[in-house]
Subunit: 338 residues, 2 copies
DNA sequence: TTGAAAGCGTTACCAC
DNA sequence: GTGGTAACGCTTTCAA
């Protein structure tokens, strides 16, 4: 039951266990002959390196902690996938934790990951305040935030230009002839939401159209919350031709409400999302939206983290990637006779 | 930069470091007075336990390895979420690996996880052969397979009764008046698929109706593959009133094809899925399907694994959970004048 | 080129 | 109750 160690190999191969270590770790200070012999023996005995002991002396585990609100969430799961792939490529493995949108839980798992000696942590923060709660840890643990634009914070982050995202979307809607565009589901407490809303407002201003914002008082942007919000919104008169949802999930909630009310999308109302989660391209959903380039975000996050890990006195970095319009079927050209 | 260790605390508190260890681990053989003192000092110095060193001597890491084909996949991501939650509850953390549907990769990450000394591994196997490739490791590493019914294998697994799943679905379709039901997307090489297909065939036989099976030659059941398969299928005459898809993903692919061909679901054709992935309940999708109880599967998998971990000479266990019909909007009652 | 031994941060055993 | 110390499996000096 006990696993084979280098001592076992040393005994079998008639060398010291220092020599075995050297042979296995590819050290140059060993003769080819003994190396070959040791390698042969260790293979025969089915040796596997004990990374725990390795980490113990090297003081690095080759582990990255990933904290997300919930991997169930399609945005997070995609991100987790790409982060794992990219980390694997660089020789790192992933420890996954869900914070369940709970700031205290976020702090707890952060501490657990530190206890487990991860070399660094990538976190998709639950709120714009997260980095404040984590401040005591951030000095000693290389950390990269993903998703939120923490422009004023002295921490590394990777996010997209959310402001530009809504501007791009507005440009597109405007080009389709829309002049009455409602922004749906703005949430407080998130920089991301604030920036997106600002992009919308500025676009309206420049186009000389009146901004209409439907605020969300929910703490997360789930389909369910979008649905509830849409129901109250749609109970009132509809004096807009297009709806720009703050997130794809909100857009899907909106869509659910319109389905029930027999409002046809895009025939009666155009709908635009934001994020381009996997759901968006499903048949019958076919949501026009603004993409967050997940793979690029993931790769950048991992690279930024590894840089910090390998160069502890390096400062922080802010990476802002470009969003992109994904044209699908939920926005229609407005006829002139509207 | 160096983290505080129990030796630092010992020095500061003027006790031996054995005493510090006792105080921190809640040992009873220590006076309340010194414990309080040590705890105070360690708190003041911001001590966090080093789990690596802990694992080194305890020979257990409190880590569970999770191998899935891809967390991007909605089924896997949901499972990963619940497994993490349940493991966390039991004091375990998760190491996540994606195998990318590649058997060799599966073997590689399995080895990595063993090297990292995880206490046990939960794997959603890529194929029914996976456990054969992993056989050499399975004797020494507690492992639980999830999703595949490996009835004849001496390994622990948790899965649903897939045979019963299609029987339940067929009963429902029959009850709605359907007599011409096509089974869509049967895939070779997966026990799951075989059992589902058998359930379908036996149900047909008992009902005295002719089975029609559309086989899939793809290696995975993605939406894309379902779409391609559906396109060739729908090019031929449609002599059935309902389609039972092997998986929800296949059903969504089918749905995409019907959308393009202006075939209305459920008006022209009823559609039933299998799995109840999150997508299924989205607005406009609203897929009637057979549920795999993910949370129960996750909890059972974790519990089964922990049992094996805590009792190494225990045998293997086969857990077969019950599928359930989820009635939504893609199956319609057939009128008598069909 | 090889071996002996220290050390990584804990726990656990044995004295006192 | 408390302290000293070996041990976990590895890497890395330092000698030989």
């Amino acid at each position: 039951m006990r696993r084979v160690t280098i001592k076992d190999i040393a005994k079998e191969a008639n060398v010291s266990y220092a020599t075995v270590s050297r042979a296995l770790s590819g050290s140059p200070e060993i003769s080819e002959k003994t190396r070959a012999h040791v390698l042969e023996v260790s293979k025969r005995m089915g040796y596997t390196k004990n990374y725990i002991a390795h980490a113990m002396v090297k003081k690095r585990t080759g582990l990255i902690g990933l904290i997300v609100a919930s991997v169930k969430n399609p945005f997070m799961s995609e991100l987790a996938f790409h982060i794992e792939q990219h980390a694997m490529l660089k020789g790192y493995n992933l420890m996954l934790c869900n914070s369940s949108h709970d700031t205290e839980r976020e702090r707890q798992v952060f501490e657990v990951l530190i206890s487990r000696q991860v070399d660094g942590i990538i976190i998709v923060p639950t709120s714009a305040e997260t980095h404040r709660h984590l401040a005591p840890y951030l000095e000693t643990t290389p950390t990269v935030f993903v998703g939120e634009n923490l422009r004023d914070a002295a921490v590394s982050y990777v996010a997209i230009d959310n402001y530009r995202g809504t501007r791009i979307g507005m440009e597109y809607l405007y080009g389709l002839g829309h002049r009455d565009i409602l922004y749906f589901g703005r949430r407080k407490g998130s920089v991301t939401h604030q920036l997106r809303a600002n992009g919308y407002i500025d676009a309206c201003e420049e186009a000389g159209i009146e901004p209409m914002i439907c605020h969300s008082s929910y703490t997360s942007s789930s389909i369910q919350n979008g649905y509830q919000l849409a129901k109250t919104l749609l109970a009132k008169p509809i004096d807009y031709t297009a709806v720009f949802a703050a997130t794809d999930s909100m857009a899907l909630g909106f869509m659910k409400a319109t389905s029930e009310l027999k409002i046809r999308i895009p025939k009666d109302l155009s709908l635009m999302g934001f994020d381009n989660i996997q759901y968006a391209e499903l048949p019958r959903i076919d949501l026009t939206t603004i993409e967050q380039p997940q793979q690029a975000i993931a790769a950048t996050a991992v690279d930024t983290l590894l840089e910090r890990i390998n160069n502890p006195q390096a400062g922080y970095a802010h990476h802002v990637l470009s969003p992109k319009l994904i044209e699908r079927g939920t926005c229609k050209q407005l006829s002139d006779t509207e």
